[in-house]
Structures are given as structure tokens and as C-alpha cells.
């Protein structure tokens, strides 16, 4: 049985608007946030959820975590209808939001953790084992006695993550957990999430604007735009499908080399001293042969198209 099953989930936000001149004629303004979205996610999967701002990613996560009710559609997460908020479901689920704190602002992290122990009724031994593991993995021993308001963003996020894993959830929704973090903190958090996913087989859904997060953690990505699913599959297939090209980059040392580069046929451009050619996979051999004949091999590199570029292409098409 899949960990998450959603069928035709639709969410329309309704806002009532009126103006003072005509106060008795209220106008309903409807915004379609999620549009007949269906998906299945297996237990232990780490799925990236991508989409531009306002695509409906966070709304969908909030529906799956039981925070908001959908306008229509059905969903089962771990066998429960999320918005019925069965405590047996909530005990196995956690949500982390990069832009909101669930921990108490004025309290040291350990006090918030102790409170969560009671909220989730976590047995003492499990709580202690999990806390020790989080402290070690996230290197957060000095943070335990520190008040949340005195922490840096990265430190806060470490504590938020630790708090979310204290009750050993089977499923976790991560809404931009690395937003605003520096490279070191982002890397530590990615490492931690990967470890938990691999060792505890926790099902994870991650939304992030940073492709680095998605590439490092998720084999499968779901892309949504304007509330609709645009793509659901592996990251590798995504590139094959939407960008079946390779990028040849040549470091152009002289004017002569730039002139030589200009003679090569195909989709190419020069950015400063870098000549970039985008070539279809089937034509790659022929082009490479020409390139290696004209330029020093140590100045040539062949890469895949950036994921961000691929995603940009998808959104432009839509």
C-alpha cells in the first residue's frame, strides 16, 4: 500500500471582498491553488516537490498534513484521511516549515523538546535515544540550552528538524527547510535528511527552490504549476524528456579560438571566455570530434543541462 495516495485533490481559497460604497454587495473572490492533483508515494521514498511561487506546493503539503481541508478530492496518508486529524495519524507525521517556527521563541530548545515529548507522549527511552541521535548528527549540543530567539537561522532550523524527528515520524513534509541558509548549514541539513531517510526509511516530501537540495536528496520529482501536475518521474528522465541535450563548454584562450568557435554550427553562445554549445545526444559524437580537433582537450568539458534550466523550460511551455 502506498504511504500517500491522493486523487483529484482540488483546493479553492475563497475570499470575501466588499467596498465601502456598496457594503451590502459582497463579492466572492476564488483562487484555485490546487487543481485535481493526483499522486502516489511509496513508503520510504524521498520525493522533491517543485514549482514556481504560488504553484500550490505548500497548500498541497498542508492538505496532506491535515492542516487544511481540500475543496474536493480524496487522500489517504498512512491509511488515514489527513484532514480528519486522527491522532494515530498525527503521531506518525511531522511537518517542517522553513519560514515558520514551531518551537517556543523564548525558551531554550531543550524545553521545547521536553514539551513535544509530552505532546506526542513519547516514551522516555525513545525520546532520549532520538534526542541523542539528533544532537550527534546535527552537532547541536551547544544549542540545547540556548533560547530560540538567540539562535542563527541555521541553528534554528537544526532545532526545528530535531524537534520534528523526536517522535520517529513515518512521514515528514519539508517545506523549504533550507531557505535562507548558508552553504554549510544547507549541507549539514541535507546530510541529516539523507541519513534519516536511509536509516529509518522515513517517507519524505521536500519542497525547495534550491535545486541543490532536490538533486542531492530526491530520486523522484513532482513538478506542479498553477496547481496542476506537470511532471512526475525521476530527475534523470526529466532531463531526458525536457532537455535531451548535452552542454559542451570550451575555455577560449585567444581571439583566434573565439573565431574558430564561431565557425562551429549549432546552438551556441559565448559568455566571457566560455564558448557553450548545446547538442542533441545523437549528434554529440560528431560535434565532439570537431571540438577536440580544434581545441585543447583540457579546455573542453561536457555536462548535462542544469536542472534549473530544465525546470525553467517546463514552466515557460506551460
Amino acid at each position: 500500500m502506498p504511504a500517500i495516495e491522493a486523487n483529484n485533490i482540488t483546493k479553492i481559497f475563497t475570499k470575501t471582498d466588499y467596498n465601502w460604497r456598496d457594503i451590502f454587495h459582497w463579492k466572492k473572490i476564488e483562487t484555485l491553488a490546487v487543481d485535481r492533483l493526483s499522486l502516489e508515494i511509496e513508503e520510504g521514498e524521498f520525493v522533491g516537490f517543485l514549482g514556481p511561487n504560488g504553484a500550490g506546493k505548500t497548500t498541497f503539503l498542508k492538505i496532506l498534513s491535515g492542516i487544511i481541508h481540500p475543496t474536493s478530492g480524496e487522500a489517504k496518508v498512512l491509511g488515514y484521511v489527513p484532514w480528519e486529524r486522527d491522532y494515530r495519524y498525527l503521531n506518525q507525521m511531522a511537518i517542517v516549515m522553513g519560514q515558520k517556527n514551531q518551537l517556543w521563541w523564548d525558551l531554550p530548545a531543550i524545553d521545547s523538546f521536553n514539551l513535544l515529548k509530552e505532546v506526542y507522549a513519547i516514551p522516555h527511552k525513545l525520546y532520549k535515544d532520538n534526542l541523542d541521535e539528533m544532537v550527534e548528527t546535527l552537532d547541536m549540543k551547544p544549542l540545547l540550552a540556548k533560547q530560540l530567539r538567540n539562535m542563527s537561522l541555521g541553528e534554528r532550523m537544526k532545532c526545528e528538524l530535531a524537534a520534528s524527528f523526536l517522535h520517529s515520524p513515518k512521514i515528514i513534509f519539508l517545506d523549504e527547510p533550507t531557505i535562507g541558509l548558508d552553504v554549510v548549514s544547507s549541507h549539514a541539513i541535507r546530510k541529516f535528511l539523507k541519513r534519516i531517510n536511509e536509516t529509518k526509511k522515513t517517507t519524505m516530501i521536500l519542497t525547495s527552490h534550491y535545486m541543490g537540495d532536490i538533486e542531492a536528496l530526491c530520486k523522484r520529482v513532482i513538478i506542479i504549476n498553477k496547481g496542476q501536475k506537470v511532471y512526475d518521474g525521476s530527475l534523470a528522465d526529466l532531463k531526458d524528456q525536457y532537455a535531451p541535450e548535452r552542454k559542451i563548454e570550451i575555455f577560449l584562450e585567444s581571439l583566434e579560438e573565439k573565431q574558430e568557435f564561431a565557425k562551429i554550427e549549432g546552438n551556441k553562445k559565448i559568455i566571457e571566455n566560455r564558448g557553450i554549445i548545446k547538442v542533441k545526444k545523437e549528434a554529440l559524437g560528431a560535434v565532439i570530434e570537431k571540438v577536440f580537433a580544434q581545441f585543447p582537450p583540457e579546455n573542453v568539458s561536457i555536462t548535462e543541462i542544469d536542472t534549473e534550466e530544465v525546470i525553467g523550460k517546463i514552466f515557460q511551455k506551460k
Binding site: I67, I68, M97
Partner: protein
């Protein structure tokens, strides 16, 4: 139930630690509350220097009613008021209510108990003895049955007041920014300190039935001073149950229509 007691204990402990770091705030707040009690007592003295009784209640009975109503209010101020008010000011507007819905606890109770101000309990140390002293000085024949029924009805009054507080902030689910409604109870609290007999019929219906804030204090106090009336007891049980059911129903509707806030 045990879970909520444990959660409460952790929150009280945290509140104690946090509040201990702000002694000036606590002292000023405590001074203000004591001043409020003194001003109210002076006011009652002024009233009773001109009249013999207030709707049949003597000076000490009214002082008892005041002390009892303040006990209900102060207990909620110390325990649930700040959390309940935050529904109308922050939680819904900023989407912080999300976290209360994602936890395996009752969201209404959890929000209510989330930010106790434990130092407010200190004022109760003055209010409860004042109430006991006033009850003794009232000269009314108070038997054990009066005390027994008073304690039962006082507990119901305490719960009823809580439901009324919640009802005041429930519109925030639909109207988001409702800072003013979080203060409605503060204004209505004044009604609780007077015997219901002083109000006109229309106001009586309003404060005893439609929004029974006076019921929460007046009925238990009446049971203490006068022979327990079964209709008072039944009414108190029924109205508390009815407002409890109404509050839970509307809270459920609110949660269903909750749309959170964008990230």
C-alpha cells in the same frame, strides 16, 4: 487527560522560568492588579454609603461576588487568556495555527494553554482570602450544602467563562484580523461583579442567557448565600453544556474553513 496535565506542568514550569527573568514586569503588573482591587473596593464603599443594598445584596455579599468573579477572570488570565487572545491577533493571521493542527492534541485546548502567565496566580492569593472573609462577614446563613453546591457551580462557571472566551475569538477563523474581539471579554468582565437583579430585563436576558457571562459568577454566588435552588443548578449544568457544545461545533467549523497563511 493525563497528557494535558503533563503538558500543562511543562508549560507552567517554562512560564515560571521565563517570568522569573522579568521581575520588574511582574512587580508592576501585580501592583496594578492590587490597585484595581483597591479602587473597586473604594467604589463599592461609595455606592453602599448611599444605599443599603444592591438588588437585595449587602455590601459584603457584593464584595464576595466581586472577589469570586475576579478569581474566575484572574485564573483564566494566568492560564488561558493569552493563548486564546493570540487566536485573534497572531495565530490565524500569521498561519502559526498550522502547528497546533499538526499535533496529536486538541487544538482548542493546546492553543488555550500555550502561554500561561503564571505570575497572575499571585493575585489570587489576595482574592481568595478576600472572598472567604467577605462571605463570613456577609452574615448570611451558609451551610455545608451551600458550600458544596457553590463549589460545583463555581467549577461550571469557570468552564462556562472559558467557552465564552473561545466564542469571542472564533470569528477570527473567517475574518482573520480581529484584534478588537480579543478584548471584548475584558469589557464584559465588569458585568460579572454585580448581582443580576440590578440589570433591566433586556440586559438580564443578554447576560444570563444569550451570552451568559453573569451566569458564570452570579449563579454560584447565589447558591452560596441562599437555599440551593434545583432550577439554578439544572440551568447552570444545561447552559454550560449547551455553550460547550456550541463552542466545539463552531471551533470545528472554523478549523474546517481555516486556510492558513502563505509561506
Amino acid at each position: 487527560m493525563l497528557r494535558y496535565i503533563k503538558i500543562n506542568l511543562v508549560l507552567f514550569r517554562n512560564s515560571f522560568i521565563r517570568d522569573s527573568q522579568m521581575p520588574v514586569h511582574i512587580i508592576s503588573s501585580f501592583t496594578w492588579r492590587i490597585l484595581d482591587i483597591i479602587i473597586s473596593l473604594i467604589f463599592f464603599n461609595v455606592i453602599f454609603s448611599n444605599i443599603q443594598n444592591l438588588a437585595g445584596w449587602n455590601y459584603w455579599q457584593v464584595v464576595f461576588l466581586y472577589a469570586f468573579s475576579r478569581t474566575i477572570i484572574l485564573t483564566h488570565n494566568a492560564w488561558t487568556k493569552r493563548g486564546v487572545q493570540s487566536m485573534a491577533t497572531d495565530l490565524i493571521r500569521r498561519g502559526e495555527f498550522d502547528f497546533y493542527l499538526a499535533k496529536p492534541v486538541d487544538s482548542m485546548i493546546m492553543v488555550s494553554i500555550k502561554s500561561p502567565r503564571i505570575y497572575n496566580f499571585i493575585t489570587l492569593a489576595f482574592m481568595i482570602p478576600l472572598g472567604i472573609y467577605a462571605a463570613i462577614k456577609s452574615g448570611m446563613p451558609i451551610g455545608l450544602d451551600n458550600v458544596f453546591w457553590f463549589l460545583i457551580l463555581a467549577a461550571l462557571g469557570f468552564i462556562l467563562y472559558y467557552f465564552l472566551m473561545i466564542l469571542c475569538v472564533i470569528p477570527a477563523f473567517w475574518f482573520i484580523r480581529l484584534w478588537a474581539i480579543s478584548e471584548i471579554m475584558d469589557k464584559l468582565n465588569t458585568f460579572m461583579r454585580y448581582p443580576a437583579g440590578i440589570f433591566s430585563e433586556g440586559i438580564k436576558v443578554a447576560v444570563l442567557v444569550l451570552f451568559p457571562i453573569v451566569t458564570a459568577s452570579y449563579l454560584p454566588a447565589s447558591i452560596l448565600f441562599y437555599p440551593p435552588k434545583i432550577e439554578y443548578i439544572v440551568y447552570m449544568i444545561l447552559i454550560t453544556a449547551a455553550f460547550g457544545a456550541l463552542t466545539r461545533y463552531l471551533w470545528g467549523l472554523g478549523v474546517k474553513s481555516y486556510s492558513s497563511a502563505s509561506s
